[in-house]
């Protein structure tokens, strides 16, 4: 087991009250496994990952629960220790590649520095390695690319440079937060290929966050669907996509227009919009938008029930 998260809760004290961003999230991740996390904006995807990485610095944040990485408890670990882990074994990629790059240095220099910060090798050796890495992420001309500044690269090339940087430490765990959301589908296809390759050649475990059901269905081994800070359904890719059980998962899949075959005259839309985390209903958070809500849903929040394929819904528990 690479990563084991138990009952993670993150809240933020704000002027308007307590924002319960994450309310009891648990999951496990094995070596060379890709976990896809899907949910709409505000469902808590980013916050849960930042919590796992020890990157929530907001003094108003309250973090509870347990995060075990290779049998080490990360909650409460000193910042310095966490930083070491992040550079050595855990790599991250974000939606905006510029969060990981500095505009003032060439990408070759930046990746080489990253390597040298964690390994005791000469500058020349590091540069050789950079060229290999850039070739690995499909830069057509890696040698030439090393001398480029970030602004001289397209968005897709920048994201690939960040992936090269992530690869440089042979990460046991790669955490990717919507890394392709800002990219064209043609470029996205190449990045998804790279993530698959990384898993195959480096045996990295991957947590891949996206709001795109198509992306998870093509990439992930296991999937976790989030809504309003909770996991509403989880399962293997096949379980989740061939037998979606939670009304939210079903509705979300139903509202995606098809790319082939007959066009529906109207799309089956979900009414309303995601709830404010400041005013969550007492019962099921999806209740106000749920087509099959009934009495039990209003009183208490449903727990996630089932084996590998589990859903948090009273209707599903009954069946």
């Amino acid at each position: 087991m690479i990563l084991s998260v138990r009952d993670l809760k993150v809240s933020f004290r704000t002027n308007d009250g307590l924002v319960r961003a994450i309310d009891g999230v648990s999951f496990d991740l094995e070596e060379s496994e890709i976990l896809g996390v899907v949910g709409e904006s505000g469902s808590g995807k980013t916050v849960s990952l930042l919590a796992v990485m020890g990157l929530i610095t907001d003094p108003n944040a309250i973090i509870e629960g347990s995060i075990r990485y290779k049998d080490r408890e990360l909650v409460g670990l000193p910042a310095r220790e966490l930083r070491r882990l992040r550079g050595n074994e855990i790599a991250m990629i974000f939606q905006d590649p510029m969060t990981a790059l500095t505009p003032v240095y060439t990408i070759g220099w930046q990746i080489a520095e990253q390597i040298r910060a964690h390994r005791n090798i000469s500058k020349a050796k590091a540069m050789e390695r950079v060229e290999e890495l850039l070739a690995e992420v499909n830069f057509p001309n890696p040698h030439e690319a090393m001398s480029r500044y970030p602004h001289q690269l397209s968005g897709g090339m920048r994201q690939r440079a960040v992936i090269a940087m992530a690869l440089s430490c042979n990460p046991a765990l790669l955490v990717a937060d919507e890394p392709t959301t800002a990219l064209d589908v043609t470029v996205q296809a190449g990045i998804l290929d790279l993530v698959r390759k990384l898993r195959a050649t480096h045996k990295s475990a991957v947590v891949f966050i996206t709001h795109d059901m198509g992306v998870v269905s093509e990439l992930a081994d296991r999937v976790m669907v989030m809504y309003a800070g909770r996991v509403v359904e989880r399962g293997t890719r096949t379980e989740l996509f061939s037998d979606p059980r939670h009304p939210y998962t079903r509705a979300l899949l139903g509202s995606i227009p098809p790319l082939t075959g007959e066009k529906p005259r109207r799309l089956p839309a979900i009414p309303g919009s995601p709830p404010s985390l400041l005013r969550l209903p007492q019962g099921c958070a999806f209740g106000p938008r749920c087509p099959v809500q009934y009495e039990p849903c209003v009183a208490d929040k449903p727990d996630l029930r089932g084996g590998t394929h589990a859903a948090a819904c009273y209707r599903v528990a009954q069946a």
């Binding site: 043609t186 709001h211 227009p257 082939t260 529906p264 799309l267 839309a269």
Partner: protein, 326 residues
């Protein structure tokens, strides 16, 4: 006159000059839209697709004359409006509207949404304030907002509701043609479908013609009757939406459509994917011959020197390629 063109472009082009005036290279020109000839018929929805930077928004802005046109002609109901002055355009403005991606950026945060929707009515219309109030109520009802929402401010709304406000503004003056530039791209997946349905309802009720831009290809397919695929400023393929998606003729359209991730319910049902090597070239320095040749999997010598014209190879289907799949 079902089939008469409402809007037509003839070899339309838009150039931007950029660069440092006193540099050795002098001014440089970006050909953001290059030689586009497109006919839009009344009541249809033309979807524009293509990678970021290929010129979709620039073309859209030319079509509603938010940009001056550098080359070619723009015709509205057969009338050449390429170089009409702002005052000559005034009566037309009402009939040509545009909706943008980010609903919050286009709405003044300090104004109540009722005011925001009334604004175009005040500027253009000749309505009394009582009539304006009635029209605003009618528009709110049309786009699915509650009557008491008129007193709210934009920030009190969700993204989907703000886009409804943006749409209410655009249809306030009963336009004929609405250009929608990424109208659902900033919205949550669960809210996108609501807006897509709303746009379809409005089109039917108000007999609107749409030009629809989105980077989500399945959304474009859903709303469009016809689609035009753009690459580096030009249209490379055009045809009925469902036909083009089912059997794209241009190698670029094939790669683009094959790259869309779709939900597969069977474990081994993965579609064959064409992964393009190389990045979108810069329009500052476009490749010779066929603009797509450096990335085209089937390019041959001829493609490097000879640029293919967009031609109708079958009624209703156009392609710009020497070797289309037909």
């Amino acid at each position: 006159m079902i089939d008469s063109p409402i809007l037509e472009t003839r070899s339309l082009g838009k150039r931007f000059s950029i660069g440092i005036r006193f540099s050795a290279e002098g001014k440089r020109t970006v050909h953001a839209v290059d030689n586009v000839s497109l006919t839009v018929r009344r009541g249809e929805t033309v979807g524009l697709v293509g990678e970021s930077g290929c010129g979709k928004s620039t073309l859209a802005r030319c079509l509603v004359r938010l940009y001056d046109i550098s080359d070619g002609q723009l015709l509205f109901e057969g009338d050449d409006i390429t170089s009409k002055s702002l005052s000559e355009l005034r009566p037309l403005r009402r009939r040509l509207q545009m909706v943008f991606q980010d609903p919050s950026a286009s709405l003044n945060p300090r104004r109540r949404v009722g005011d925001l929707v009334a604004e175009p009515l005040r500027i253009h219309g000749k309505l009394s304030s009582r009539e304006i109030t009635a029209r605003v109520a009618e528009l709110f009802d049309l786009v699915g907002l509650q009557p008491d929402h008129v007193m709210r401010y934009p920030h009190e709304f969700s993204g989907g509701q703000r886009q409804r406000v943006g749409i209410a503004r655009a249809i306030a003056l009963n336009p004929d043609l609405v250009v929608l530039d990424e109208p659902v791209s900033a919205l949550d997946v669960s809210v996108q479908a609501q807006i897509v349905n709303l746009l379809a309802d409005l089109q039917e009720k108000l007999n609107l013609t749409y030009i629809f831009i989105a980077h989500d290809l399945s959304v474009v397919r859903q709303v469009s009757t016809r689609i035009a695929v753009m690459y580096l400023g030009s249209i490379v393929e055009e045809g009925p939406a469902e036909e083009v998606f089912a059997a794209p003729a241009h190698p670029y359209s094939q790669a683009l459509i094959s790259a869309v991730p779709v939900v597969e319910t069977t474990p081994n049902g993965m579609r064959k994917r064409i992964i393009l090597t190389g990045d979108v070239p810069s329009p500052l320095n476009p490749p010779s011959g066929c603009r797509f040749h450096p990335r085209c999997p089937i390019a041959v010598e001829r493609c490097r020197s000879e640029r293919p014209e967009l031609r109708e190879y079958r009624p209703g289907r156009k392609v710009a390629c020497h070797f289309p799949t037909t």
